[in-house]
């Protein structure tokens, strides 16, 4: 694995987390390929091969819809996330893709100041280099949550 590629994936993860934590949700779909899959599931579902997701998107357009719904339709109390993202474990995949497994912890801070460890788990990614602009994007990001329990609701993406 080239050190340049490793560095570029670290950078991708850092920018992804920062966009969500800075409430730039509109930038979030841009980290994905047009036909990307983004699924949030539990370790139990993942290990048992059960396909259900809490979020189950099969295109960038579905992610854009989610952001719009969060902005305009859904009701949830003001809150922020703080992502702490670990080092990606990389593996060369088929046809130029890279597979990455990366641990994360997300702390949720409510408008009241209540702060809690909201989620922990790992990202199981398939990352590709976009032929047009040379940027790295997720062809697939499966967010595998360690716990099956979500406190109250999962509004902002992980």
């Amino acid at each position: 694995m080239l050190p340049e590629l490793q560095f570029a994936i670290l950078d991708l993860n850092a920018r992804y987390a920062q966009a969500i934590d800075d409430d730039r949700l509109e930038d979030w779909p841009g980290f994905f390929e047009e036909s990307a899959r983004y699924v949030v599931t539990t370790a139990e579902n993942f290990e048992r091969g059960l396909p259900l997701g809490m979020i189950y998107a099969t295109s960038r357009a579905m992610l854009k819809d989610r952001v719009r719904s969060l902005r305009e339709a859904n009701i949830y109390e003001a809150q922020r996330y703080r992502h702490i993202v670990g080092l990606p474990l990389l593996e060369a995949g088929a046809d130029g893709t890279t597979r990455a497994t990366t641990s994360f912890i997300v702390v949720r801070v409510m408008h009241s100041g209540e702060t809690s460890v909201f989620a922990s788990g790992c990202y199981r990614d398939r990352i590709v280099k976009d032929v047009k602009d040379g940027a790295l994007r997720f062809a697939e990001r499966i967010v595998v949550l360690d716990s099956r329990q979500v406190d109250t609701l999962l509004a902002l993406p992980l």
């Binding site: 949030v40 599931t41 539990t42 139990e44 579902n45 048992r48 059960l50 396909p51 259900l52 997701g53 809490m54 979020i55 189950y56 998107a57 099969t58 295109s59 357009a61 579905m62 854009k64 819809d65 989610r66 719009r68 719904s69 305009e72 339709a73 859904n74 009701i75 949830y76 109390e77 099956r148 329990q149 979500v150 406190d151 109250t152 609701l153 999962l154 509004a155």
Partner: protein, 410 residues
Amino acid sequence: MNRSRHGREWPAEGITRVPYWAYSDEEIYAQEQERIFRGPSWSFLCLEAELAKPNTWRATSLGEMPVVVARDDQGVLRAFENRCAHRGALLCLKDRGEDRKIVCVYHNWTYDLEGNLTGVAFRRGIGGKGGLPEDCRPETQAPRKLRVAALAGLVFGTLSPTAPPLETYLGGEIVKRIRRVMRAPVRVLGSYSQIVRSNWKLYLENVKDTYHASLLHTFFTTFRLARLTQKGALIINDSGGGHASLTMAADSGGREYEQAGMRAAQDWLKLEAPELLQSVDEFGDGCGVQIVGVFPSFVLQQIRNSLAVRRIVPKSVERTELIWTAFGFEDDSPELTEMRLRQANLIGPAGYVSMEDGAAPGFVQRAVVAAPELLSLVEMDGSGISSSENKVSEAAVRGMWHAWREQMGI
């Protein structure tokens, strides 16, 4: 019968008012565990598909009481308390397992999948020393056994010998609505849970509140998945505890929301990926949404092709776990499975529709903390608890309180 054993008294107005102590009183909560969950009510335990083979079991509960539900070596469904006869330890520590017997890890006491104590380690001691006295009968402290009944792939249990048979408890109309959804052998698609920071009844009320659906959930209304102007029906059983709300997929086309200028009426939201809502009329009756809620702890949901059971598990007076299991059927095509998975974006803690339901009960819990003697108003569509075609109604919520008061003796 208007008073709890700790002196709480129901308001004179009856079930059109709910005193806020009902959501926050620790004594009431303890009494509910005894009189409702361990009393003459049926609780949903699991899907039959989760116990597909003989000699399998899974951990579930009756309110706060831990329960093991199993399929024994003869293929018969059994359920019993998850508590060892000896010192009361949990018998099953895992969520599920496969074995002919269950062994308590603490002192190796052994049970069959019917819940019978079959072995006591060193019962006669070692070399004639120690062990249980000859006349000791540990079986007298054995885990309590539940009555178990399966209906169309759903497994229910009760501790009560006097509860009516499951189908009588549910009532004929509700049984029909359940059978309609459970049309074939089930294939589980997955599961997750949600912590609702409220008393368990605030969540069940939310399920039974047909009035809120299109007002709180703007996603639902904007895409005409359900609006109060869509034709539908509200069915309530005789006990008041079971209900089904139905919404036809086709809209009557009224502009009542827009005319009233309500938040829910905003027209701007158009999906870039409309495949999210792509669906088929798999039940062939044009019914787009059917929610069945059964007191005290069960929800069966059909939102288009998104099917799920929800088990409401009280954790404390102000904390509830909601366990979702989404499913399809064994004969589903890959395309139908994909549709169900995409539509599952509507449900669960991140659901376009359901996320607000995880939060709204908590809004009430937090607001009424200092108002135990004040009253909540439950009077939409009058004071009755009968079925109707009108869903601008709180009849099913009143039905729940009717059943609650009956079982609680308050």
